[in-house]
Symmetry: C2
Subunit: 312 residues, 2 copies
C-alpha cells in the first residue's frame, strides 16, 4: 500500500485576457489528458493575460501544457497584443512547481523537456528560467523579458539574448516562451486588530527579506477598510525555508511587542497539503506525520495510480 505518487503543478500564463473564447479554447485543449486536471482559469483584462492552474502527474501535466501552448500559438497574435503586464509571447511563462513526491530536479527536467519540445515541434524560441535556468542571469524573469516582445524581436539574434532552445528568431505570431521551475508561492495575510496602518507597515518591514527580516518573505502593510483593521500582506516564496507558521509567529511576536493582537490570518488561493502538514507537525509536535496518513491524499494517490497518469 506504499504510494510514490508524484504530483506537479504548472501555472502557464498566456497573453490573452480579453477574449474569453480564446481562453476557453486554450483551456479545452489542455483537458482530456488522463492524470492531469485543470483546477483554475483566471483572466485579467487590464493585463490582457490569463493564468491557468494545472495539476497532476508530471508526464500528464507536461502533455497538457504542451497542447495549450500549441493552441495559444494558433489563436494569439503577438503583433497585435497590448496589455499592462510584461510579456514576450503568446504562451508567455510556464513554471513547473513540485507539489508532492518529487523534488525540484524533476521539475527542472520537466521544464527542459517541455521547452525543447515547444521549440522543436512549434518552432517557438524558448528561454529557461528559475531553477531550470541554463544561464545564471536567466534565473529571474526580468532579465529575459527586458524590453518585452517588441525589443526581443530585434535583439534575439544577439549572443546574450539567444534562446536556450529553438531558432534565434521569434515565432511570427507566438513570439517566445519562457519555461522554468520554481517553488510554490503562498499568498498569506495576517490581519491585526488595529486600524493603525503604520503598525502594519512597521511589522511588514521587520519580517520581510528585503529589509533584513526572514528569508523568502515579501510583505507590505495594507488598510482593510471594510474590516476596519490593517493587514500584513505577504508572499511566501520558499516555505521550505520560512513556513507559514514561522511567518505567522513572526508577525504575532512583532504585533504583541507593539501591544497589538493578531485578529486572524488567511491563505489566498491554493496551498499544498505539505505546507499545512508542516504547520500541524510544528504545533502538535508531531514530526512523524506523513501525507500518506491523510485519507484524502491516499485516495488521490490510488486514483492517480489506477489511471496510470501517463500522457495519452
Amino acid at each position: 500500500m506504499a504510494n510514490a505518487v508524484e504530483i506537479v503543478e504548472c501555472v502557464p500564463n498566456f497573453s490573452e485576457g480579453r477574449r474569453p473564447a480564446v481562453v476557453e479554447a486554450i483551456a479545452a485543449s489542455m483537458q482530456g489528458v488522463a492524470g492531469a486536471a485543470l483546477l483554475d482559469v483566471s483572466l485579467d483584462a487590464d493585463h490582457n493575460r490569463c493564468v491557468l492552474t494545472l495539476v497532476g502527474s508530471p508526464d500528464a501535466v507536461a502533455e497538457a501544457v504542451f497542447r495549450g501552448v500549441r493552441t495559444a500559438a494558433g489563436l494569439i497574435d503577438m503583433e497585435r497584443h497590448q496589455g499592462g503586464h510584461p510579456r514576450v509571447g503568446a504562451a508567455d511563462v510556464i513554471p513547473f512547481i513540485p507539489v508532492r513526491g518529487l523534488d525540484m530536479s524533476r521539475c527542472v527536467d520537466l521544464a527542459r523537456r517541455v521547452g525543447e519540445r515547444i521549440a522543436r515541434e512549434l518552432e517557438i524560441p524558448v528561454y529557461l528560467y528559475g531553477e531550470a535556468a541554463a544561464l545564471p542571469e536567466r534565473r529571474s524573469l526580468g532579465a529575459i523579458r527586458k524590453g518585452q516582445y517588441e525589443a526581443l524581436k530585434v535583439e534575439i539574434g544577439r549572443p546574450e539574448r539567444r534562446p536556450d532552445f529553438g531558432p534565434p528568431r521569434l515565432h511570427p505570431t507566438a513570439g517566445a516562451t519562457i519555461v522554468g521551475a520554481r517553488k510554490p508561492l503562498l499568498a498569506y495575510n495576517v490581519d491585526l486588530a488595529t486600524e493603525e496602518k503604520t503598525l502594519a507597515d512597521a511589522i511588514a518591514r521587520k519580517v520581510r527579506t528585503s529589509s533584513g527580516g526572514l528569508p523568502g518573505i515579501m510583505a507590505a502593510g495594507i488598510e482593510m477598510k471594510e474590516r476596519r483593521r490593517v493587514q500584513v500582506s505577504m508572499n511566501l516564496t520558499d516555505t521550505d525555508v520560512t513556513p507559514v507558521q514561522v511567518a505567522f509567529e513572526a508577525v504575532r511576536r512583532e504585533a504583541e511587542a507593539r501591544g497589538v493582537e493578531v485578529a486572524e490570518s488567511e491563505i489566498i488561493g491554493l496551498v499544498t497539503l505539505e505546507a499545512l502538514l508542516d504547520a500541524v507537525r510544528h504545533y502538535l509536535r508531531m514530526p512523524g506525520l506523513k501525507a500518506e496518513q491523510v485519507l484524502e491524499a491516499r485516495l488521490l494517490a490510488l486514483l492517480l495510480e489506477e489511471r496510470g497518469g501517463g500522457a495519452e
Copy 2:
C-alpha cells in the same frame, strides 16, 4: 470551479484472519468499482478477523462493500469460525463514516440502504447500529453481539433480538451482519518526556470522558520502553466535539502542571484532512481555511467528478 464532492469511508470487519487467500478474494471482489478505492487491508490471526478500509463516493463505496459481503458469505462458514474477537457473522460489522462533503444523515441512509440490500439479496439478517440504529438499545455493538454468533443463532427469533432487516434466522454460513454509521475514530498518542508511568496514568484519568474529563476521549497511560518515556494513548471518538488540538493542549497543560514536557505526539493510521485543517485553523487563527484550497483536495475532487463516482 465549486466542488461538492462527497467522500465516505467504510471499514468492514470480516470474520477471517487466518486464510490470506479468503481475505484476498474479499478484497478483490471490492475492487473495480469506479469511484471507490481500497486503502488498506489488515489481518489479525488471533482475532481471526480482518479489517478493510474503503473510501470514495457514497454509491461506489456502498456497491463495493456489498460485493465484499457477498463474497464473504460464500467463503466464510461461521459454523467453523473461532477467534478472540466477538462476532455474529462472516461480514460482522460495516460502519459508514462521513469524511467530506456529507453529513451523518447521509451515512445513516447509506447504512440502511446497504443493510436492506444485504438482507434482501443475500438473505442475511441485518442489525443497524451506531447513528443508524433504529432502536436506541442497538446504538452500541455490545448489545447486538451479546452471546455472539452461537447465542444469536438460538435467540434471533425472540422479539428483542429480531433483526432490522431480513429473516429472523441466521444465514446458514454467513450468520448475521451489523451495519451502521459513526464518526471517524482518531488514534492519537502524546509522549511525555518522563519514564514515570504514574504521571501518564494520572493525566489519562484527568482528560478522559469516563473519569470526568473531556467528551469523546478514551485514554490510558502506557510505558514505551524502547523510547524510554511514557505515553498518554488516546482514542478520540468525536473530533467535532474534542478535536485533536484540544486533546493535545489538555495533555500538555496537565503535563506542565506536573513539571513534565510533552516530547511529541503521533496519529496512528489514517486521519481526515478536515481534522488537520481544524488544527491549522486554530493555531494560525485562520477560520476561513477551506478544504477546497488544498491543491491535492481539489485534484481529488476533479478526479472523482470525472469518474462519475457511481456504481457500475
